[in-house]
């Protein structure tokens, strides 16, 4: 089992098709395969035990991924925005790596004792020499990719994704060569995000050309979509919010057919605006984790339209759900004692399937005796099997003796027309253990009366779920991939940061 099998199939099935980059000068499936052979040879010649990729997304990324697979070593995409200290610790764990890094990172890699080359130098090395028939890569169960979690709730952990996990994910969710020749996918998340890895594999296998956006801006994204006639795109919610909120932009995207989003909670205001602005586009909400090789449940285009048009509150609510599990995944919602809960009750989300790794470098497997993995996400299923994700278990606020999920309160705040963004956290409190505080970002042009907003929450939820304080900030601290940095929110609140209302 090896992901190179997917590339070999692509090269065999539609070898002349451009699959990476711009139509005019991109790589065909056959060329991508040749470069992966040359890249693997360079890695083997260096005696490296992994490929470390520290740079923005671009054509070198898929080449590096398949070169690693062919050489039988894992690809380790690393967050190029990490602080010096954190990056140094991470690099120290990979002394035998073949490093590919953007110009600005070379010095840091040198300091860590790693010889590095830029993506352009790597591509040149891969194109050099004999690119002929390689030996067949081993049918092993070796690690294909090692991705460090973003570490928003704890120290970053290295998630091990084996060839078996990734190939199962692709075979379970994509049909070979199903994309038309005109289709093109635009990827906006950085290489160290699981969606960037799965995107390479699923688009290649479908026969869909994929283009990477090195760094996201609303205008840049819209320009590439129009210029390259992009048909499919994946964004995180903050990107869609920025595209919808930016003033004076031409938001026409005539070629776009499907927009997938995931990675964080989508504010209702943003998705509703996008549905209205782009009625011709199919929206897909994907829920998954690094540990599950990307998507485990999907809210598809028909689900979006049905929910958006419905007056039945239960159906309408599904617009904010993560849809239904993909066929290759089994999902259980369990209580804290491990009992499986019926539809409608909230608990911990556990999943099982070939694509689920649940394995951390140096720590082994975290799946239970039945093969289920604890996502550490809270959620519930409705009567129709739609999954509602209610945030991380670790974010639960314990106020007095009551466990409160911030997501429920955040949902109410985010549905208020004056609120653009919202987060609810537990702040240390002598009397209650934790008290509930909220930070909101006002919608463009809106003035917010925080007391009236508290009353609004109280009218929809009970008093014990009403924030003890709501403050207004100009923006929320988030990772570049859209995850809220809750720890920074709590720090900001306890430091007595002043409201700007």
């Amino acid at each position: 089992m090896n992901v190179t099998m997917l590339l070999d199939m692509a090269a065999e099935g539609f070898g002349d098709r451009v699959v990476v980059g711009r139509r005019q000068d991109g790589l065909t499936a056959v060329r991508l395969r040749e470069l992966s052979i040359g890249g693997a040879r360079a890695v083997a010649a260096a005696g490296a035990d992994s490929i470390l990729y520290l740079g923005v997304n671009g054509p070198a990324f898929p080449v590096a991924m398949f070169a690693a697979a062919r050489a039988g070593v894992p690809l380790v995409p690393v967050n190029y925005r990490l602080g010096r200290e954190q990056l140094g610790r991470l690099l120290a764990g990979h002394p035998g790596a073949y490093a590919i890094a953007d110009e600005g990172q070379l010095e840091m890699l040198g300091a860590a004792g790693l010889a590095a080359r830029t993506p352009e130098e790597f591509m040149a090395a891969a194109a050099d020499g004999d690119l002929g028939e390689p030996g067949e890569p081993g049918w092993t169960d070796a690690p294909a990719v090692l991705i460090y979690t973003s570490g928003t709730t704890s120290a970053p952990k290295g998630v091990v994704l084996r060839h078996q996990n990734l190939v199962s994910y692709v075979l379970g969710s994509v049909e070979f060569a199903a994309a038309g020749e005109e289709e093109a996918a635009l990827m906006s998340v950085p290489p160290y995000h699981i969606a960037a890895v799965s995107n390479v594999l699923t688009n290649l296998y479908a026969g869909r050309r994929f283009i990477a956006l090195p760094s996201f801006s609303p205008a840049g994204w819209l320009e590439v979509v129009r210029e390259q006639a992009v048909t499919n795109a994946m964004v995180v919610p903050t990107m869609l919010a920025r595209i919808m909120d930016a003033d004076g932009l031409d938001r026409s995207v005539p070629s776009l057919r499907t927009l997938a989003y995931g990675g964080a909670k989508m504010p209702p205001r943003v998705i509703e605006r996008a549905l209205a602005e782009w009625p011709h586009v199919d929206f897909v909400n994907a829920y998954g984790l690094t540990e599950t090789s990307s998507t485990i449940s999907v809210l598809g285009p028909e689900d979006h339209r049905t929910a958006f048009a419905s007056t039945d509150p239960e159906v309408r609510a599904r617009l904010y759900s993560a849809g239904r599990t993909v066929p290759a995944i089994e999902l259980e919602v369990r209580d804290e004692e491990g009992r499986v809960l019926p539809a409608g009750e909230s608990g911990r989300i556990w999943v099982r399937g070939e694509q689920v790794s649940g394995e951390y470098a140096g720590q082994g497997s975290a799946v239970d005796e039945r093969g289920f993995f604890d996502t550490r996400d809270r959620g519930r299923l409705d009567a129709g099997g739609y999954l509602f994700v209610e945030g991380r278990i670790d974010d639960t606020i314990i106020r007095g003796a009551e466990n409160i999920a911030p997501a429920e309160i955040e949902d109410v705040l985010l549905r208020h027309p004056d609120v653009a963004d919202a987060v609810v956290v537990g702040v240390p409190d002598e009397e209650w253990g934790q008290r509930i505080e909220a930070v909101i970002v006002p919608a463009p042009g809106a003035g917010v009366d925080t007391e009236a907003l508290r009353e609004h929450v109280r009218s929809l939820l009970r008093g014990s779920k009403t924030p003890d304080r709501i403050v207004v900030w100009p923006e929320l601290p988030r990772t570049p991939t859209g995850k809220i940095l809750r720890h920074d929110v709590v720090t900001g609140l306890t430091a007595g940061r002043q409201t700007v209302s």
Binding site: M5, L171, E175, T258, V284, A286
Partner: protein, 103 residues
């Protein structure tokens, strides 16, 4: 042989390769062109013999083949001329229903 998801099987009479997507976990004898399929490591040893001329329906790259009674699904990773079968019963080409592209 025991078929586990992710396991690859190879024909001994032509270039056919299949990967197991779904399997019941029991021992199953798969044939291609009438000859038993083997682990790819054992393929191409020249002991394949001759294909049954009556089992030459062929397979198509990337297509799925199923045996509903057994809960078996294979995917063709290298096409060949032989018919893939269990107990002489040819597997059936599965009509694909793609999921919406999610990433």
């Amino acid at each position: 042989m025991k078929l586990r998801p992710g396991r690859q099987v190879a024909s001994t009479v032509d270039g056919t390769r299949m990967i197991v997507v779904r399997a019941p976990g029991d021992d199953i004898v798969l044939t291609c062109g009438g000859a038993e399929m083997v682990d790819p490591a054992e393929a191409g040893t020249g002991e394949g013999g001759v294909a049954d001329p009556g089992q030459q329906e062929g397979t198509v790259l990337g297509k799925r083949y199923t045996h509903d009674g057994l809960g078996l699904e294979l995917l063709c990773t290298k096409p060949g001329q032989g018919t893939v079968a269990v107990d002489g019963e040819p597997l059936v080409l599965k009509e694909a229903k793609p999921l919406p592209a999610s990433d």
